[in-house]
């Protein structure tokens, strides 16, 4: 074979190879939307009017109704399990599995009347005995549950036991009257006794037996959870036959899947992806001001008082002055790419009737107040030094913390920003060791100011991360327990919020704007409480 022939043959081979590669890619593109289960059965997920595909960052860590805790897990679990009461899209408490409740005279017993005709996943009747079992199982210390029900709800209401009066009536006995008990109980997922009594804890974590609108069809860990309509649930009509929860940790990948039309709804759109969705023809951005309060905590523990800044923030005048240094709307606009308003107190605005206005951005005033408090600028222009600790991956990937550090430095409070891995940061805050400044977001509610204030229910509460001590504020909780008159309760709460405002244990920032990406093919409105509802 001559040199020219060999060269020609090589070129033909190259062309054929490129052609075959293109054919292969086209074939692959043809099968790209198909998904195959372990059995080999091909399942179509998209372009189905009866199916919605939702992508969130994390898989459910358990579907045991007594043990669920994280927001992503709760989103799935709330579709599988009913609750006695729940929160409407407008933020009000409303009857769900129960049709009514009544407090006893001393307020320690709450009697719920269930709706007739409720059913478990197997079609058997759901009765008061099942409700009692749900409470008892969550409260049983031998189960070592750490989720929302056992870790927060049960101790918060002071659960002491339950009493089945008749198949549709159950009484919950608590240690003392709690004005927000119904709201707290609205988070208790109700399960049926029969299937769970025969399951080990391990089985219960992966084999939910539904009492809500959907039942589990498939769970491929770290990949997807497929729910299908529960035929025995007649209480409310859901919009979709099937809900597919896909686990997509990376924000840009979630956005790409949404824009490609492979998912219908994504949570936690990163700020840098918002414009891509807004400018697309296939999806839109939906935002809502959530109940999550983002603030900078002043850690007042003695261990921090050894430093000049740690000592300075023990003075409430300094804490008040620093409030004026931060331009919160600009932070939201520039770094979160979503407008927001500055928070005035720790209570969600719709429930805050204290009349306290958000602190304006006024760095000159901040400087004057610091001068007056006895912290003038030194020769180097620095008043004192602070360290701000924040998680690296939250709050605009650390950008919000960096901006706050710069705003404080601008008024002479030289602030070092220390961005930490989330697991380390969570440990520090839980142990009240973060600080002297730390950036944090904690959940509130739409239905009660008291719930929002319960982070500071006692001076030694686990959620009093700043170790704030204020006699008047914490003593007022006793006053609240003494009255059932809403007007009087409101007056006490307003006084507490004024005390909080003056004591300024938190540098108030904003209520977190939640950003969702929604396909144009679905109509869905976000809720302020982070709950994804499909009713």
């Amino acid at each position: 074979m001559s040199y020219i022939e060999r060269k020609r043959r090589r070129r033909i081979t190259a062309l054929v190879s490129v052609f075959l590669a293109l054919v292969a890619l086209m074939w692959l593109a043809g099968v790209r939307r198909k998904h195959v289960a372990h059995s080999g059965q091909v399942v179509q997920f998209t372009a189905d009017a009866n199916t919605i595909v939702i992508a969130q960052a994390n898989d459910a860590d358990t579907l045991d109704p007594s043990d669920v805790g994280s927001a992503d897990t709760l989103n799935v679990a709330r579709m599988l399990f009913g609750t006695l009461y729940d929160v409407s899209p407008q933020g009000e408490l409303q009857p769900f599995l129960a049709e009514s409740y009544q407090y006893s005279d001393d307020g320690r017993d709450i009697t719920f009347k269930l709706r007739p005709g409720l059913a478990c996943e197997d079609g058997s009747p759901l009765t008061a005995s099942d409700v009692a079992y749900s409470f008892d199982r969550a409260a049983n210390p031998r189960n070592h549950f750490t989720g929302n029900a056992s870790g927060f709800l049960i101790p918060s209401i002071g659960y002491e036991g339950s009493h089945v009066i008749d198949p549709l009536t159950v009484s919950i006995h608590t240690a003392k009257y709690n004005p927000i008990a119904i709201g707290l109980i609205s988070e208790m997922l109700v399960m049926c006794r029969q299937p769970y009594e025969h399951m080990s804890l391990r089985e219960a974590s992966t084999h939910p037996s539904a009492t809500g609108p959907y039942r589990l069809a498939e769970w491929v860990h770290d990949d997807r959870i497929v729910l299908e309509r529960n035929p025995h649930f007649k209480l409310r009509q859901t919009r979709y036959e099937r809900v597919v929860w896909r686990v997509i940790p990376e924000g840009s990948t979630r956005t790409a899947e949404l824009l490609a039309g492979d998912v219908d709804l994504i949570t936690q759109v990163p700020p840098d992806q918002i414009d891509a969705i807004r400018n697309s023809e296939t999806a839109k951005v939906e935002t809502v001001t959530s109940t999550r309060r983002v603030y900078v905590g002043f850690n007042m523990r003695k261990k921090f008082a050894d430093t000049d800044g740690g000592k300075a923030i023990q003075d409430p005048r300094v804490r008040q002055a620093l409030q004026y240094a931060i331009d919160v709307p600009t932070i939201c606009e520039a770094l979160l790419r979503t407008p927001c308003s500055r928070a005035a107190t720790l209570v969600v605005p719709r429930n805050d009737h204290s009349g306290i206005a958000p602190t304006p951005f006024d760095p000159d005033r901040a400087e004057k107040l610091l001068d007056a408090a006895g912290y003038p600028r030194g020769k180097d222009g620095v008043r004192f030094h602070l360290k701000l600790q924040a998680p690296r991956t939250l709050y605009g990937d650390g950008n919000v913390a960096q901006a706050i550090g710069q705003y404080l430095t601008d008024i002479g409070v030289e602030t070092e920003v220390d961005l930490l891995d989330l697991s380390v940061y969570v440990l520090l805050t839980r142990q009240h060791e973060a600080g002297p400044l730390f950036l944090l977001g904690t959940g509130g509610s739409t239905w009660s100011a008291l719930y929002d204030m319960s982070d500071l229910s006692t001076q030694d509460s686990g959620t009093n991360y700043t170790s704030w001590h204020d006699g008047l504020f914490f003593a007022a909780w006793k006053d609240l327990e003494q009255t059932k008159d809403p007007a009087q309760q409101q007056e006490i709460m307003n006084g507490m919020l004024r005390e909080f405002h003056e004591g300024a244990p938190w540098l108030m920032l904003y209520f977190q704007p939640d950003v969702y990406g929604v396909s144009n093919r679905v109509h869905w409105t976000p809720r302020a409480d982070e709950f994804i509802s499909l009713y």
């Binding site: 927060f152 974590s205 990948t253 490609a260």
Partner: protein
Amino acid sequence: MIRFMIRRLLQSVLVIFGVTLVTFLAMHMGGDPTYLYVNEHASDAEIAATRAALGFDQPLPVQYLHFAEGILHGDMGTSLTYRTPAVDVVLRHFPATLELTLFALVVALVLAIPLGVMAAMRRGTPVDGGIMLFAMVGQSIPSFWLGIMLILAVGLGLRWLPISGRVPVLDPIFAGDIAGGIANIPHAIPYLIMPGMTIAFFTLARTTRLVRSSMLEVLSQDYVRTARSKGLSELRVVGYHAMRNAMLPVVTMLGLEMGFLLSGVVVVETIFSWPGVGRLVFNAINHRDIPLVQAAVILFSVTFLVLNLAVDLLYAQLDPRIRLHS
């Protein structure tokens, strides 16, 4: 040969011991992990009870000894997040990672060997320059960037390949359903291409350079000149005589590359939502799920050691000049 194997196995045990110790100490630095396993409203008494229940109240050496004793009994503890044995959780995710790394390795080798040979054969020509430029770019591009670019260009722009997800092949095979696993292959390939290419790219570039330099060295040997002077075709000279010897360093690198690919999956599995061990470890570290991290790291280490041992044995078989006892 047997003495060599025993010596290597003993070395492997020492390495695994070191890995478990380092992982254990790393996971216990930075504070008491108990707080991650109690509700934020938990009282001091509840925190203390949980600490005792999880064994975090014991001195670190005691905790480590318990852990080491468990390993010897095949028990690496219970995942604090999943509430199931950590080994089970890791093994459940392992087929996905194995699938991805094997695919990446095959892709890297299938492309790197011809490219490296071609560059060596065309040394100093634009073809050689182009391939070396490609190799340099391949070694310079961070995998997370390449992954995102592939998603945007191929997944979102051209819509040729799915952006994320997985169709299992090895899971049904390991479960005994070989036919089911094989039947899934055509559906699995579209999901494998982008993450597989992202992981393979660096290995592909590095192996291409290795094959090229190895081939250049072999092609200058006397026996190649002799083969040519005997009138053998170029295909036979290169493909039979030169390639066999040029592949020796590639085989040596194979075990290391597999380890590199396994470590590289952490980022890629997160970007492409691939439900493998890499992503599992990433989440476990974030949640301080110590038993899970340790189980995963030990599995990775054992895999890496076994592969290297296999490569050493293979190398000895391929090159008779190697004396194992030396």
